[in-house]
């Protein structure tokens, strides 16, 4: 048996410089990035509740994909969505160990034309983030994927679930979410 036959190896096309002088990514990767970046940011945002941090997560996710996968792979969108949820959950679980002072400093830097609305949104985001951080990871990922705007089919692809099972799993995830909201952060 020729073990090397398991893999076909071909280098991607050579990167070309873009208008800003930075090294451009291969064209196929750029297409993938443009198609999926907003959704990856939204998945991450649904977990971390902060756009700048969600964009940081999205950058990490795309770099990880770039390093290890071909943009032509048919699973690319599903991989990116799942990785966004996973990486964002890692971020908030790690962040939950940060001190209250750091949290206050982070939110204190924000400015808004509607400070009351922004404060309510921050509070809502904080509650969602804290609840997702305490939940079973699979259920938290499922809610993040669905409530970032992905369809049932996209959620199914990202989680490796049959589409007709997504509804049932989402209901269970909602139960777990509500239970954690009721318990609150102090148990």
């Amino acid at each position: 048996m020729d073990l090397d036959a398991v893999a076909v190896i071909e280098r991607p096309q050579v990167s070309r410089p873009n208008a800003t002088g930075a090294t451009a990514v291969p064209a196929a990767f750029e297409r993938l990035f443009r198609a999926e970046y907003a959704r990856v940011v939204r998945v991450a945002y649904r977990v971390v509740g902060d756009q700048a941090e969600a964009e940081d997560v999205a950058q990490d996710v795309f770099v990880a994909f770039y390093r290890a996968h071909s943009p032509d792979m048919p699973y690319a969108p599903a991989w990116l969505h799942r990785a966004a949820a996973h990486t964002a959950l890692n971020a908030i679980r790690s962040r939950s160990r940060r001190t209250a002072r750091e949290e206050r400093d982070a939110t204190g830097r924000e400015a808004s034309a509607d400070p009351e609305g922004a404060a309510l949104e921050r509070e809502r985001a904080r509650e969602v983030r804290a609840t997702l951080a305490r939940m079973p990871r699979g259920a938290a990922e499922l809610l993040a994927l669905r409530y970032s705007g992905l369809s049932y089919a996209e959620v199914a692809a990202a989680t490796g679930t049959k589409i007709d099972q997504v509804g049932t799993r989402l209901r269970r995830a909602h139960d777990a979410f509500r239970k954690e909201v009721s318990r609150g952060p102090h148990r």
């Binding site: 048996m1 073990l3 090397d4 036959a5 398991v6 893999a7 076909v8 190896i9 071909e10 280098r11 991607p12 990167s15 873009n18 800003t20 930075a22 090294t23 451009a24 990514v25 990767f29 990035f33 443009r34 970046y37 907003a38 940011v41 939204r42 945002y45 649904r46 756009q51 964009e55 999205a58 950058q59 795309f62 770099v63 770039y66 390093r67 290890a68 996968h69 071909s70 032509d72 792979m73 699973y75 599903a78 991989w79 949104e121 509650e127 969602v128 609840t131 809610l143 409530y147 970032s148 705007g149 692809a157 490796g160 049959k162 209901r171 909602h174 139960d175 979410f177 509500r178 909201v181």
Partner: protein, 320 residues
């Protein structure tokens, strides 16, 4: 439900303006300044092949993967591995490429007749292999007639070769970690089979396909490679991802557990109960194909095909 409504209020996404141009510029800058290189366009055939090809290739990779879990110390050829159970190991396409390039560490020799060949009947397969006859209850959706295959016991020999490892690494501009002197020239002997495979339909069969296989549990022998040498050398290769290495190290009983590679994003695996023992269910992401593998009484059983989870488990549990 009320709690779903209240959850939805909490979870609703606020408007979000996302600038892909800025994101792309930032990514390009990161790539430029950190020297991150794109993945080689590795397109492992089995990710796209269906049913039999996938199962066969996965099994081949699984056998190769066992070299990562070798254990035992021996002064002469000594059996150090026998499959008694299976465990899922999630692998990425990069990992697959790594496993596929195991030959860069040495020379693998397989005898010419390692493929199953068709025989006229189950009785002929049983007679040729010495394995017990098997039968299953075939789902009504599978209408193709059965064909039978048999494979004799076979051995593959892998000899580590430090000079080959260095040359392979140099060819791709990398420097190979030094191969321990004791490992250089040491031999692993993989033994597999005999096996019987019953096939109903095939890859392009409009009525679906079902494959049922039984084989004597594979073994691996070593003429001296130790767990420390094999694991520290193979798992420390820069091309072996830390995640894969961690999974391999986490296998509780590496001397008897066959790691079954599960391509991330393409398939899922979970433990299931089959014939009173624990088996591994593997389903592809489309739900169009699935299989179950388990080990019982020194034999490895595989049932797979264009079946749902409940169907494939029903077939597996009907096996006699």
């Amino acid at each position: 439900m009320d709690h779903i409504d209240s959850n939805e209020k909490l979870l609703a996404m606020p408007p979000l303006a996302v600038d892909a141009d800025t994101g792309l510029e930032r990514l390009a800058s990161t790539i430029q300044h950190t020297g991150v290189r794109p993945a080689a366009r590795a397109i492992p055939g089995f990710l796209f092949a269906r049913q039999a090809k996938w199962l066969a290739a996965a099994a081949a990779v699984a056998i190769v993967a066992t070299t990562l879990t070798m254990t035992g110390v021996a002064d002469s050829i000594l059996q150090i591995f026998e499959v008694k159970q299976v465990a899922a190991v999630t692998i990425t396409p990069t990992d697959i490429k790594t496993l596929g390039q195991l030959s860069q560490f040495g020379k693998l020799t397989w005898p010419s007749q390692t493929e199953p060949h068709q025989v006229a009947s189950l009785a002929a397969a049983v007679s040729e292999t010495g394995l017990p006859p098997i039968s299953v209850r075939v789902p009504a959706s599978i209408t193709a007639p059965a064909t039978y295959g048999a494979m004799a016991r076979t051995q593959a020999t892998f000899v580590f070769d430090a000079s080959l490892a260095q040359a392979s690494a140099a060819a791709i501009g990398r420097t190979a970690p030094p191969m321990p002197a004791k490992l250089d020239g040491s031999t692993l002997v993989f033994s597999g089979g005999p096996a019987i495979v019953i096939s109903y339909g095939g890859e392009s069969s409009p009525s679906g396909a079902l494959y049922v296989g039984v084989a004597k549990a594979p073994t691996v022998s070593s003429d001296g490679a130790t767990v420390a040498e094999l694991q520290s050398y193979l798992l420390s290769q820069p091309s072996v991802s830390p995640a894969l290495a961690a999974q391999i190290r986490a296998i509780g009983d590496p001397a008897s557990t066959l790691p079954v590679p599960i391509p991330v994003g393409q398939a899922q695996a979970k433990n299931v109960s089959v014939h009173g023992t624990t088996g591994l269910f593997v389903g592809d992401s489309t739900g169009l194909g699935s299989g179950v593998i388990w080990v019982q009484n020194g034999l490895v059983y595989v049932v797979g095909g264009t079946l749902t989870e409940s169907e494939v488990l029903a077939v597996a549990n009907s096996l006699k």
